[in-house]
């Protein structure tokens, strides 16, 4: 096995670059330094891009859907600010002032599209006026507050008590904006999709902290939600790198100094890396690129990885100096000795990073390209700067060499034992492979944000706070598309929300129907979706004046979001709940039609009743009550009841006497028509015409001059009378259902059941198209839905991580293999040279599986790095092994290991110890990356030193010895 022709080419390139540097050493040094000085200002001006959203795979349909939905709803990035009262009461004057002030001030921050806080909401209650009329009373939930320094008068305390009482009585606020125990509150800030998320989140945080300090509200702050988590991750990553990078450099310097025993060599090697880093960063600025979260690790990675080339070249030069060669000869000999493997090692490293081009995350592709370019530049700098510096700077020879004899002896002994004991060695190798592979299958992608941060970090504390006080902060969104001003569509949205809440993992499901219902209750007196599209349309315009409604429906009222809060922090579970709801609710999206009730066929009527039954079962499921569909048949049997005569009399009195809709003759009294009205109503025989017949004898003659208007009035009175009967029927139905509960139901459940059965008394019914093709259809609307939200795209991100891992490893392996084949001219040898790296990858992933380190964007890079960088050791070993093809094994090992073994040891130590310092970071992915990369480099070095000489020796014995072809 001799060094092939290609290596002659590599040697020529090395020598050519080297001779340029040796002949013009001063010019090369001055030129390199001048270029570096020119690029320093650009390097220092390099922009940071902290957008974490860019790390989502853009081609993933879930990610695209998420972005489309975000745009449609003015941003799905919700920054959650939690306020926890230190003394346990959020309803103090100071804290209410704080919340109110911030709710307004945060809205003024560029990038914030809306804020939601309970202090700005109305409180709507149903009351009875002095004249006995039912009315909606609208008040500010939190009224205008007296100044901060107001004395604690009884009136003030009473006002605060009232605010507390009213707030904690509102179902749509408790658990969403105010904690049930009144000790905490939230402000939600919606960030516009085009706004820079980190900058906006940082501005929100700064404003909140400043205001809390100014008001001295004595609250503990919590910053949750994706914008703050992303901002924290970005900030901490940069801080960690800034804090730890000097230590990494120091470690590298220390190890290089101790092992090379030459301060000059250390300075030259690090200067070379520094020059390379400045060239790369300066070049990035000139090309208009920015530093992302991943590429911000470039400098520290280059210090650890890029110094290898300088070390190997310097080690070779120093070795020849130590042998007594004059400096120029030592430099040339060092170039000839180490140049070709440094070049090929650089190529394999570049191949490893270039494999990132197949990843579906743009910042990762860019990072791979950057690192490949940086590797190339550092290699060029190595040949020019290191060579020129070695010519110029004092490098003292050390008699006897620099590698400790015990280390050389140890490496030789180990490699010799493996070579001489093939079967035990192979058994050991295969055991490690199998063990690594076994644990590799245990590697999982991470499913919780909690695994990204230290337990006492801000995101975890916020998570704990939101889980304890508000049931969590994980949201899945289901987007429904259709005409959202049509009652037909809105009823399906309402049913979908009820279905969602029937899942045990779901805390709440909020939809636009909650808002419509609330506004309808205020403006019509009916807390339900009105049966008329025109009425719904008016309610929608009234509702849309509130910014928080924009989180639920788009500007055109063609898309709505059902916001589903899932308990816990497990993204995978939340995603599966989302998909489960989507699957279970798919039938709700079948084409539906509106039909006049009296034209319903038996099949259509049965379908309507089946849907209502299903709706009721969903409403009762969270209470552990299951009702068989057949048991609900009795519910539908109640269609009419004898109406309460007193109530009927009151309707007639109000509308015909007290505040007349129709002017009656002077001596009219409701008793004159009450019996006839009650009888007709009770037998379902009362309609507008029949009522007109009953009332006309008593109508003021002047009314008859306006027959159409009079008819409107009659219809109004008729509807009021019918409502008396209908409300009794509804109440009976609702009570029947609630009796199944066996406990006093909360008000919102009572109202929800009422809403579910109310449509049975509407003149128009909504049924699936498929139940009867012969129905006389009044209107028809298509409805579609899709599931989205951070848990869903998290899934996509995890799939992307797995995909990227596999694809980049495959491409890296192929490129490295091709480079090695070109280098060795022997595919078998090339494959054999990759075996230690393959073992390294399996062992590294095995560690991940064994100690449950999840795969993420950072660790997905490790395999390609381990292969591309770790292969360097094998390349250097092979080069030195192949040069001595005719010598006996012992001699070959001695030459091989003394020539490059110590260089490998230096490099492995400084890379692994240097990168292991990242383990002291606060962001878990960085810690994992540092730890695993360090382990990979160590494994690679050990595997290469231990097994590769033996593999190469065994292969060489398979082929007849030939003359050297170098």
């Amino acid at each position: 096995m001799g060094a092939p022709k290609a290596n002659g080419l590599l040697a020529q390139i090395s020598l050519m670059l080297g001779s340029l540097a040796t002949r013009f050493s001063l010019s090369v040094l001055v030129g390199a330094l001048a270029l570096t000085a020119l690029l320093v200002p650009s390097a220092l001006r390099l922009d940071q891009d902290d957008d974490v959203i860019k790390f989502l795979p853009r081609e993933d349909p879930d990610v695209q859907r998420f972005e489309t939905i975000g745009r449609r709803f003015h941003g799905l990035s919700i920054a959650i600010i939690g306020f926890e009262a230190q003394d346990g009461d959020i309803f103090t004057l100071r804290r209410l002032h704080l919340l109110r002030t911030l709710a307004l001030e945060l809205r003024a921050i560029p990038g914030v599209s809306a804020t939601t806080c309970f202090t700005e909401l109305p409180d709507i209650t149903e009351q009875v006026s002095d004249s006995g009329e039912e009315m909606s009373a609208v008040v500010d939930l939190v009224p205008d507050l007296p100044p901060l320094d107001s004395a604690a008068t009884p009136e003030l305390l009473q006002m605060l008590d009232e605010v507390r009482r009213r707030s904690l009585a509102l179902d749509h606020i408790v658990g969403s904006l105010v904690a049930a125990d009144g000790q905490a509150a939230l402000i939600l800030a919606q960030i516009h999709p085009d706004a820079p998320i980190k900058a906006t989140a940082d501005a929100i945080r700064a404003k909140v902290q400043a205001r809390v300090a100014a008001i001295d509200a004595q609250v503990d702050l919590h910053f949750g939600g994706a914008p703050f988590i992303g901002s924290f991750a970005a900030e901490q990553t940069r801080r960690d790198l800034a804090k730890l990078s000097p230590w990494v450099c120091l470690m590298v310097i220390l190890i290089m100094a101790l092992t090379s025993r030459s301060l000059g060599a250390v300075i030259i090697a690090l200067s070379c890396v520094g020059i390379g880093i400045v060239w790369v960063m300066g070049g990035m600025t000139l090309l208009g690129r920015s530093m992302t979260l991943v590429s911000s690790s470039l400098p520290v990675l280059l210090v650890a990885l890029g110094s290898a080339y300088s070390i190997h070249l310097l080690a070779a030069i120093l070795a020849h100096l130590d042998q007594g060669l004059p400096r120029p000869e030592a430099v040339r000999a060092g170039l000839a000795h180490a140049g070709p493997p440094v070049l090929i090692a650089s190529l394999t490293t570049m191949a490893g990073f270039l494999s990132f081009a197949v990843m579906d995350v743009e910042p990762m592709r860019e990072f791979g390209l950057l690192m490949a370019a940086a590797t190339g530049l550092i290699t060029l700098a190595t040949f020019l700067v290191v060579t020129a510096a070695a010519m110029r700077f004092p490098l003292r020879p050390v008699k006897g060499g620099r590698a400790p004899q015990w280390a050389l002896a140890g490496m030789q002994a180990g490699a010799h034992w493996v070579a001489r004991h093939p079967w035990p060695a192979l058994a050991l190798f295969l055991s490690l492979v199998v063990g690594g592979a076994l644990f590799t299958t245990q590697v999982r992608t991470h499913t919780e944000n909690r695994t990204l941060f230290a337990p006492d970090s801000e995101p975890i504390r916020a998570d704990d706070f939101l889980e304890a006080r508000f049931g969590g902060s994980l949201y899945v969104q289901i987007e429904v598309a259709g005409d959202l001003k049509s009652p037909l569509v809105l009823r399906q949205v309402e049913r979908l929300a009820a279905l969602a809440e029937s899942f045990p993992e779901v805390v709440t499901a909020q939809s636009i129907t909650d808002v419509i219902t609330l506004v309808g209750g205020t403006m019509i007196g009916e807390k339900r979706i009105p049966p008329s599209r025109d009425t719904v349309a008016a309610l929608s315009t009234l509702a849309y004046t509130d910014d928080s409604v924009r989180l639920l429906v788009d500007d055109d009222w063609q898309h709505t979001l059902v916001q589903i809060k899932v308990s816990g922090a497990d993204m995978s579970l939340a995603a599966s709940v989302g998909h489960g709801i989507g699957k279970a609710g798919a039938h709700l999206m079948e084409p539906r039609v509106a039909v006049r009730r009296h034209q319903l066929s038996p099949a259509a009527r049965a379908a309507e009743e089946a849907e209502i039954s299903e709706h009721l079962r969903w409403l009762l499921a969270p209470y552990g009550v299951e009702i068989a569909p057949a048991a609900l048949a009795g519910l539908f049997a109640t269609a009419t009841m004898e109406a309460d005569r007193e109530a009927l009399a009151a309707v007639l009195q109000l509308n015909l006497v007290d505040d007349p809709i129709i002017d009656m003759v002077e001596d009219f009294a409701p008793e004159q028509v009450l019996d006839a009205v009650a009888t007709a109503l009770g037998t379902d025989a009362l309609d507008v015409d029949r009522l007109s017949q009953l009332l006309v004898p008593y109508v003021d003659p002047a009314e008859k001059e306006h027959p159409e208007s009079l008819h409107s009035g009659m219809r109004f009175v008729f509807e009021a009378l019918r409502e008396v009967s209908d409300s009794q029927v509804r109440a009976a139905r609702a009570q029947w259902v609630l009796d199944q509960l066996g406990q006093e139901p909360p008000q919102h459940l009572r109202e929800a059941i009422d809403r579910a059965t109310w449509p049975l008394s509407d003149p128009v019914a909504y049924v699936p198209r498929s139940v009867d093709p012969n129905l006389e259809v009044l209107e028809e609307h298509p409805i579609t839905m899709s599931v989205s939200g951070y848990p869903i795209i998290y899934e996509g991100m995890n799939q992307s991580v797995r995909r990227n891992q596999v694809s980049s490893l495959a491409v890296s392996a192929l490129l490295v293999f091709l480079a090695l084949v070109a280098f060795t001219r022997r595919p078998l040898v090339a494959l054999c040279t990759m075996l230690p790296a393959a073992l390294t990858i399996l062992l590294t992933f095995g560690i991940m599986g064994a100690i449950e380190i999840p795969m993420d964007v950072g660790t997905s890079m490790i395999a390609a790095i381990a292969l591309g960088v770790g292969i360097d050791y094998a390349v250097h070993l092979y080069w030195n092994f192949a040069k001595n093809s005719h010598a006996p094994l012992g001699e070959r090992l001695q030459v091989m290991l003394s020539g490059t073994g110590w260089g490998i040891v230096i490099n492995a130590l400084e890379v692994s110890l240097g990168l292991s310092i990242l383990y002291f970071g606060t962001v878990v992915p960085m810690r994992n990356f540092g730890l695993l990369t360090a382990a990979a480099m160590l494994f690679s070095a050990i595997a290469s030193l231990l097994f590769l000489p033996a593999f190469l020796h065994w292969i060489s014995r398979l082929r007849p010895r030939t003359g050297s072809s170098s």
Binding site: A108, A537, R715
Partner: protein
């Protein structure tokens, strides 16, 4: 010589003409009102702004800024006296036909399009706005300022008399202090500054383009209300005005909402 004496004559004539012109712009009644005091002046502005028994105006309300930027509403408002008001919306299309009858804070009746219900609503919500605008119920009900505020003249310049109004005790309005600027030409208020309980300026109303529309009185045909905290502005344009149409009290009833007469 003639030239020398002519110049000062011309100059004096010009100055006199200018002075005369200024004196003609200011309403002659102002001097007497100023002598009577701030309250008299404030009461006169109330009269000048409401010189009718009933008024029917069609208004276009346009939002500026925020998430409802560009939204428009057109509605007809019938007003009689201090307390009776009936509103019917013409646009947007979704609101067409919606009616409100306002007899007081606790007596608001609402009817939505195609609904057979009239709902009574009581609104004591001072912080909730009308249709997402910068007007709330208090803003809209401050018609006769002299009834609710005590005035004090704080500035009297060439064009305006500026008064600070202090809310009277027991008055249920949101603003303890309002600063108004009275245009001397019309003895009408063309600027109001609203201050909250903490003394902070929170809203500014400005009135422009006084014209005679429905009667022999001036009215501002463009009014803006700006919320300084939200950085949001509502612009009201008067499209049409009719006054003294002998509007019946029956207009302000549920019957009107249901039947239109």
């Amino acid at each position: 010589m003639k030239r020398l004496t002519a110049f000062p004559v011309i100059l004096v004539a010009l100055l006199c003409a200018h002075h005369t012109a200024l004196a003609q712009e200011i309403d002659p009644a102002l001097e007497g009102l100023l002598k009577k005091g701030a309250m008299a002046l404030l009461q006169e502005t109330d009269v000048r702004h409401n010189p009718f028994k009933d008024q029917t105006i069609t208004t276009k309300m346009i939002m500026h800024g925020g998430t409802n930027d560009g939204n428009e509403f057109v509605f007809k408002t019938i007003t009689k006296g201090a307390n009776l008001r009936a509103i019917r919306f013409d646009s947007p299309a979704d609101m067409r036909g919606m009616g409100l009858v306002i007899k007081g804070r606790d007596e608001i009746y609402a009817r939505l399009p195609d609904s057979d219900r009239v709902r009574r609503v009581g609104s004591h919500a001072k912080r909730q706005s009308f249709q997402g605008s910068d007007w709330n119920f208090d803003d809209m009900s401050m018609i006769y300022l002299a009834e609710d505020f005590t005035p004090e003249i704080t500035d009297d310049n060439a064009t305006h008399v500026v008064m600070t109004l202090t809310r009277n005790s027991g008055v249920d309005l949101q603003y303890p202090k309002v600063v108004i600027a009275i245009d001397k030409r019309y003895i009408m208020i063309d600027r109001l500054e609203y201050f909250n309980e903490s003394g902070k300026l929170v809203k500014v109303q400005e009135r422009y383009d006084p014209k005679k529309m429905g009667g022999d009185h001036y009215m501002y045909t463009r009014v803006t209300m700006t919320d300084l905290g939200n950085k949001h502005m509502t612009e009201n344009l008067v499209l049409e005005e009719l006054v003294n149409q002998n509007v019946s009290d029956d207009t302000f009833s549920r019957r009107w909402l249901v039947r239109g007469l």
